[in-house]
Each structure stands twice: as C-alpha cells, then as structure tokens.
Symmetry: C2
Subunit: 357 residues, 2 copies
C-alpha cells in the first residue's frame, strides 16, 4: 500500500498522513493514532522522498565544518559523528556539512538559511565569546548547541557534559591523596569547555585552602605532541621537591605524550606522579590499554552525538520547545595511575593510620 | 554588480554566465573568457544559491556513512574529511552524509539517486567483492572510488595509494636487513587495501626465495587493542629462536598496541625486533612521537581527501571524463625502529664487512 492509497482509505490528505507518521504537533492525537494503526495494519512504509516533499522539509540537519590551515579536526569528531549518524539513520535524516574557514563562518550560516538545504543545525566547540548563537537565532535556523558558552544565561538549548564537575572531582581526589603541587595540561582556553574545567580545578583548590598557583596550568590543542612538550617543560629540569606530583590531562592523546615524557624521564606512575585524564570513550584508544591503566573522567562523546541528533530533530519538528539545557554528569574512574603523593606515602609505610587521614 | 546586471551587460542569459564561471563544457572558450573578464572588471562574485538554481545542481557531494553496532568510524576518516572539506570550500560544495547500515546500503544509494540531493558520490573502504560500483553506475550517479576493489578491470575512476608497493618495499627492507621470520598485523582482509598489502609482502618473500609461511599473518580491525592482543599471541610464549624479528603493522593505532606489548615483554626496538608501520600522517599522533621513532610507509590521507573532492567535482562538471585510475606512490621512511635482524647483527660486531653483504 502506498501513501495515496492509505490517504484514500482514511479520507485524509497525504500531507496529514505524513505529518501524523512523523510526529508533527499540527496533527491531533486521535488522528495520529488512527493513521499509525492503519499504516501498521496495511504494512505501509513511508518513502522518505515523498515524505520530505509532503512536509516541506529538507530531511537534513546541518553542521558548519571548520577547515583551514590551522584547523585540525580531531578524533573526537569522528566518534561524535558515529553516534550522530546512528541516530540520524533511525530518524531518516541526512547530515549536511558546509565547510567554512573561521573568518567566513557567518557567511556559511547565511547561505544555509537562504538555501533551506537543511532543517536545523547543531553548533559545537563553543567559544567563550560565542557569536554563533545570536547569528543562527537571528537567521531563524532551528539549532542545538553541543556545549555551552560562558554566558548560557542568554537561554538557548544545549547539551553539555559537566566539565567543571568532572575536573573538580578529579582535582579533589588528587588533593585527598595528598598531592599539593598539581599540573593541568588543559585544552585551548579559547573554548568554553576548557575554562569550565579550569574553574573546577580552582574550586577544588580553594576548598582545600590552596591558592590558584598550586596548579601549573597550560593550555594548548589536545594532541600527543603538546602533551609531551608541556610535560617535558614541567618535569625535565624540576627536582623531586618542586615538580608536580599530580597531573590532570585534557585528553587521551595529550596523555599519550605525557606518558612518553614520563617514560623518558623514568618517572613511575603512580609512585612518582599521579595522573587523571579525560576519556571520551574512543574505541580505538582505551585507558585500560596503557601499560599503567589510566584513571579517568569519562563521558561518551558517541552517546552525545546520538543525543544531539535526537534533540535537534525534536526541536525541528516542534516536539521539543523552550531552551532545554541538558548537562550530563561525568564519571570518575580510578585505575592504576592515581596513588598517594610521594611525600604523603613515605611516612605511610610506617603508620598507615596517619596516611589514611 | 549582480548576475542579472552582468547578463544584461553581456547580452547573455544568466544560465550561460553561471555555466561559464563554473567551467561547464557546454560554454565555448571564447564566451567563457569574455564572461570571466567582465566579471573580474565589474567585481561580480557569484552567489552560490543563484548559481545552483541556474545550473540545476545540488551543489553537494554525497557519502554513505557506515553506521551500526559493529561499525567504528576510525580516525582515518576525520583526516580524510579535513582534506575533503578544505577543497570543498574552494569549490563551494557541501558534503552530504547519508547514514546506512551495511545491509541497507543499496537502499541509501537509491534514495540519493531519486532525491537528486547530491550531484555525485564518493565510495571508500572498497571491499574485495565490491557491489557498489555496479550499483551507482546503474543508478546513474556520478562517482569516484577512494581505493579500488580486487577487480579494477571493470574500469571505473578511482584514487588509490600503492598499498602493494608500500608493503612490498617495507618487507623487502626487513629481508635486506636479515630478517627471515616476519609478522604482519594487517587490517581486515575483507577490504581490498589489506589484500593488496598482503600481496606486496608475499611478492617480497617470493623474490627472496622464502615461502609464504615466512610471514605470520593476522588480520583485524586497526586499533590499539588488536595490535596488543595479536602481538602478545605472537611474542609472549615464543623463544628468541622462533619468534618473529621483523613486524609490519597496518596503522599507527595498531602499533600503539604492539609497542605496549613489546614494553611489557621487555623487547627492545630495534635490537630484539624491528617494526615498520603504515602512517596516514595524522596530526594528532606522529611516528616521530614514539619513544623509539617509528619507521613508516607514509601517505597523507588528508591529501587524498582533497584530491577526491577535486576529482569528483571535475567528474560532475564534465571536466574529467573516462575512467581515470590514479595511484599514488607511498614513501618508505626509515627512522629508529628498523635494524639488522638479531642473528645477523651478532657476527657483524666482529666483522662489519660480512654483515653488509
């Protein structure tokens, strides 16, 4: 049975049937139920092109893909895309990528708005002074942010993880283990997620009565090279009395470089130095797969991709309204790279009770 | 000056002007030059939407994105996408991703063909018994393959790297260094690139008068875990007289796991074992960044992404015709993980002349 036949049978327009099957709010609940039952009984499966014509939708969600000489898409993106693609399949939508260099980004959004080639967009890698929220809102493009700027008071729909809480918990654990000289090899603080993480670390320090200077903070793109370079700068020439004993790392790739540095300098984990790394749950590089399994803050970026797709489609079809601000908690997983600070451990060998404190 | 004004000035139709500016073959060379000069002189910049309307093109290239429970997009894809996106920007095209599970892939291509939402598609990860070539050809979708099946005699346009030559050269170097017990931790041999690589290794063995059994061959998805697991199976219980001394690895991620295994078993590179890895030139994980810098076969997958976009747009606009089969040579870069086989090296200490052979 095709759409036309089903429409004749139910004495409804083809448009109404398409809208009913796709959960549009314009169709009343009684009609929707009637359509769903008939479609099921007669084995009708909607043809996506017909549906797109009938509903006036492009059937596509959009993303402005950052490109340019100094832009590296990183492996996070591929995992996010896996989750988004999987959900997009179940909702029968495509993903349209419009490449743009940073300076001409707004032009790309304008073109998307005027061409109506997509029904909505998601934004990611939100900057501290994010300009895109106001832009897409003014252009009337339905949108969802993955992450949030430093001023989410503007009130827009987003999905984010609790970056501040994650790094607060990680720093607190290191402090509880007796570490008082911390290092944080952070991502680029032009982006809000990295600022949120730093805020979390500082909050833990303050609660412990320690000044902000108790953490050596470095900010750079998250990759192996920067991890190695920054760890070398921190550890190579420092004596065991002055160097950090607890390290926070922004990503698995950063940590690959930090671990290489520790191997070269013959620093043992966790005897000489503890480390906690943020893990996006990459299937191709797992924290259990390090010679010393990594303690991590963990949140699946693949699950976030699926959820962004789900909510964006709901926003487009009017099922989700208002500015829903969804924040996922982040797990703290203790494996083998965290232990008592060297200074705290030595007396502990004599008196375990004291060290437990 | 807008398109209409330019058309009036030159007494040409807007369609002709759009086609001339976009290099369509329907427009004669003299007219094209006239249009280009006038556009330049009067500062006319084409509006991409107007152009798309005028040319009847979607302004988008397509890719069917594999999703599903057992599919991991891997970091190769993100680098490929970076290159493709960068070139797509310069040609003013978008990339449309249509998610599909393997079993329903052909349906996705049919939908792409009937919706005309893209002007052409690229195919990647070609399988040994590739079904998609015939499918997209029958559907009349312009296409370019990234990679080739085992039967490229069908004659279709592709861009591939010389996987066979790369692994032939790598295996030959190990043989020249005196290694006679090789291991190859390959990618999934359901895909043609992995079969080509195995053929290269076997060709080198045959030229050296060695049987196919001189290489322990294992095939699996390219990630850290499989590298570790397969290297452990090969090396853990083998004595120094029987274990492989030369290893070929399919990817940087595989090698992360192999190196972890070597560290655990206290096997030194290259003293106990040599290794050559294929490197796609990831900015986030570099061969120079291993504790012992990796010898590699090297080919930039980002450059391949840019070239695939360039050629696909040329195929769509009729600038490229026929079945151009482009194969890129692969470099062999010797760094620190390759050295003489242990058996060959020991006598060399007494008589360098002998070992040079």
């Amino acid at each position: 049975m095709n759409l036309k036949q089903l429409a004749e049978l139910l004495e409804l327009s083809q448009t109404t049937i398409s809208r009913a099957l796709n959960g549009y709010p314009e169709v009343g609940e009684r009609t929707r139920r009637r359509v769903l039952e008939a479609a099921h009984r007669h084995g009708y499966k909607p043809n996506s092109n017909a549906r797109k014509l009938a509903t006036g939708r492009a059937g596509s969600i959009g993303y402005v893909l950052p490109v340019g000489r100094n832009v590296d898409l990183d492996p996070h993106f591929v995992e996010f895309l896996s989750g988004l693609g999987e959900h997009a399949l179940s909702r029968d939508v495509d993903l349209s990528l419009t490449p743009a260099v940073l300076e001409r980004e707004s032009e790309a959004y304008r073109r998307i708005a005027s061409s109506r080639s997509v029904d909505g967009v998601y934004l990611s890698s939100l900057r501290n002074d994010e300009q895109r929220i106001a832009l897409v809102r003014n252009l009337g493009i339905p949108f969802l942010a993955h992450g949030r700027s430093l001023a989410p008071s503007e009130g827009y729909a987003f999905l984010d993880i609790d970056n501040e809480g994650a790094f607060y918990n990680a720093a607190r654990l290191l402090l509880q283990l007796g570490h008082t000289r911390l290092a944080f090899i952070n991502g680029d603080t032009d982006f809000a997620f990295a600022v949120h993480r730093l805020n979390g670390v500082r909050r833990a320090l303050a609660e412990h009565g320690l000044p902000e200077t108790a953490v050596a903070h470095h900010s750079a793109a998250m990759n192996e090279e920067n991890g190695f370079r920054l760890a070398m700068a921190l550890f190579r020439d420092a004596g065991s009395e002055t160097r950090p004993t607890g390290v926070l790392s922004a990503s698995m790739f950063t940590t690959l470089g930090i671990v290489r540095c520790f191997n070269q300098l013959k620093l043992r984990m966790p005897d000489d130095v503890s480390i906690i790394t943020h893990d996006d749950v990459f299937p191709f590089l797992k924290p259990e797969s390090f010679t010393v399994p990594l303690s991590t803050t963990r949140s699946s970026i693949r699950a976030a991709g699926a959820r962004v797709c789900e909510r964006l489609v709901d926003i487009i079809s009017g099922v989700e309204t208002g500015s829903v601000q969804e924040v996922w908690p982040v797990e703290l997983i203790v494996r083998a790279t965290t232990g008592p600070a060297p200074a705290a451990r030595r007396p502990a060998r004599k008196s375990p009770a004291e060290a437990a404190e």
